[in-house]
């Protein structure tokens, strides 16, 4: 399945391909179905995600947004009740094929969860955690890496005097930026956000959003969000999901100004949420 003929299945099967604005395709999802026990959570997802852009996935609660994200970094592997069929091609390789190492996949996908979850260790050790588990031991390099990513998320100035203190003492907004730095430190290619700002105050939210806008120069960012306004503010592409299906997807302007489907119009006008 690795060398799939892109042209043909793109034409015939992928109805929801997002047209890349500038550059190449980074993730291709083909006939993805996810079942949790008897429930059919994701139904026939076909999607192409362009690289180096922000893709927002919107939809009412329970529509399968988070399940979709978890399928991308194979966190469903940890729950035996989940069954997955279909393919997800990342850099041309199906992440669900047998020879793929799940650790390599997770390394590629940095996930930022809804509530920041610092590990029970110091600020420094939190950021150094990823590089360390992947084998980086040289202290000098570690120090540099940690400082670099803390600077990148704008946390370095705020914490430089107390980098060895427990990360749990930071405010929740700081913790979320720390978690972002921790995720970036493993050098992923993609950033997945599972309502990454919903627990934060407006100012922290703004900081994270600005970071995302900077980060899309280098990374492909896939965000699940509850707030339409956030999608409007930062997304390049929007994917609307409902009841486990992709209803509509497209470039942000087009999606919000000229939705094609009635369901999308209803959702955008607030008829249901």
């Amino acid at each position: 399945m690795k060398d799939i003929d892109m042209e043909t299945w793109q034409d015939k099967k992928v109805k929801d391909a997002l047209q890349p604005v500038t550059s190449a395709v980074s993730i291709r999802i083909k006939q993805l179905n996810v079942y949790i026990r008897d429930q059919h959570i994701l139904k026939d997802i076909d999607l192409i995600l362009p690289e180096k852009s922000i893709i927002c996935i919107i939809g009412p609660s329970g529509c399968g947004k988070s399940t979709f994200l978890k399928a991308l970094n194979r966190m469903h592997d940890e729950t035996p009740e989940v069954k997955i069929t279909g393919n997800i091609f990342v850099d041309g390789e199906d992440i669900y094929s047998n020879h793929v190492n799940v650790i390599d996949i997770r390394k590629k996908m940095g996930l930022l969860s809804q509530r920041p979850c610092p590990l029970p260790m110091s600020i420094f050790d939190n950021v150094a955690y990823g590089p360390r588990i992947h084998g980086l031991t040289r202290r000098k390099v570690l120090n540099q890496t940690v400082i670099q990513y803390l600077q990148y998320v704008g946390l370095w100035e705020e914490v430089r005097g107390r980098i060895r203190t427990p990360a749990t003492r930071l405010s929740i907004g700081q913790q979320q930026r720390l978690c972002l730095a921790r995720g970036l430190a493993v050098e992923p290619e993609f950033i997945l956000g599972d309502e990454a700002t919903s627990a934060l105050d407006p100012i922290s939210t703004k900081k994270i959003e600005e970071l995302f806008l900077n980060l899309k120069e280098k990374y492909t960012i896939i965000l699940v969000t509850h707030t339409l306004r956030q999608a409007k503010r930062i997304a390049d592409h929007v994917v609307f999901m409902y009841m486990g299906k992709i209803i509509e997807s497209g470039p942000t302007d087009e999606f919000f100004n000229n939705p094609r489907k009635q369901l999308t119009k209803d959702y955008l006008s607030g008829s249901f949420s």
């Binding site: 966190m75 509530r115 992947h134 749990t168």
Partner: protein, 298 residues
Amino acid sequence: MHYLRKIKDRSARHVMLGIAVFAVLFLLVIAISLFIKALPIMREKSIWVLLTSGSWRPFKGDFGFLPFILSTLHVSLLAILIALPLSLLTSIYLHTYASRNTRSFFQPFIDVLSGIPSVIYGVWGTLTIVPLIANKIAPNFVEFSSGYSVLAGGMVLAVMILPLLISILLEVFRSIPQEMTDASMQLGATKWQTVKKVVLRKSFPGILAAVVLSVSRAFGETIAVLMVCGNITEIPHSLFDACYPLPALIANNYGEMLSMPSYESALMLAAFLLFIIIVLFNALSRVILVQIEKRYSL
């Protein structure tokens, strides 16, 4: 109506407070009555001599508690040294690696293990562990051992506290938020890395609490230890020497003590010492726990 509800609430509160206080009082009453009973012997001899002397000859009036105290400590610490790694690995496996079916297969065995009466462990120790030590293990290290030894006591106790440790540790691991282990896995850590760096670290206070509980249990365990320890009043110098823990001393001599007032008082002191050891041990670990939690904000 409203008024009645308030009265009910308030009286429920007071009744429950009373019961809670009763539990504390009970502890105090035991401590005080043991102390009073032990007073005569402490008047007769200095407490220092009682604690540090190794000679125990009740009919000559020699009451040295050192062998008993050391035996208690040796046997209990050996038990926890054996049981802790085993129970840690078992509970890590059951919590992190085992499927739900495997876990529910093991659970009843652990529960039954903790429900077995200690006398059965004692019999098993006498029939299995003691000969094993006498014939197979001890000859490699010392010239002669009857098998009734510190090692036998430690091994039997270890098996006895194992189920207790495993159940508490499982509970401790279960209390770690799923998001935290997920966070580690999402960064690409393996399960083992997550266990080593996140789970064990986060649950350290809980592990310490589990150790305290099971060591306290080991300190007080009487019959099984009594059956395999040899009960010789000497300070044990190796794992293969016989020993005589405090609970065994009390249980073995309770019948004969009535004839000699100082003997009775000495046995009460033994009980009081056991009580103090457990209280001190608990207090100490509480202090350590608070320090650790403060320092690492776990």
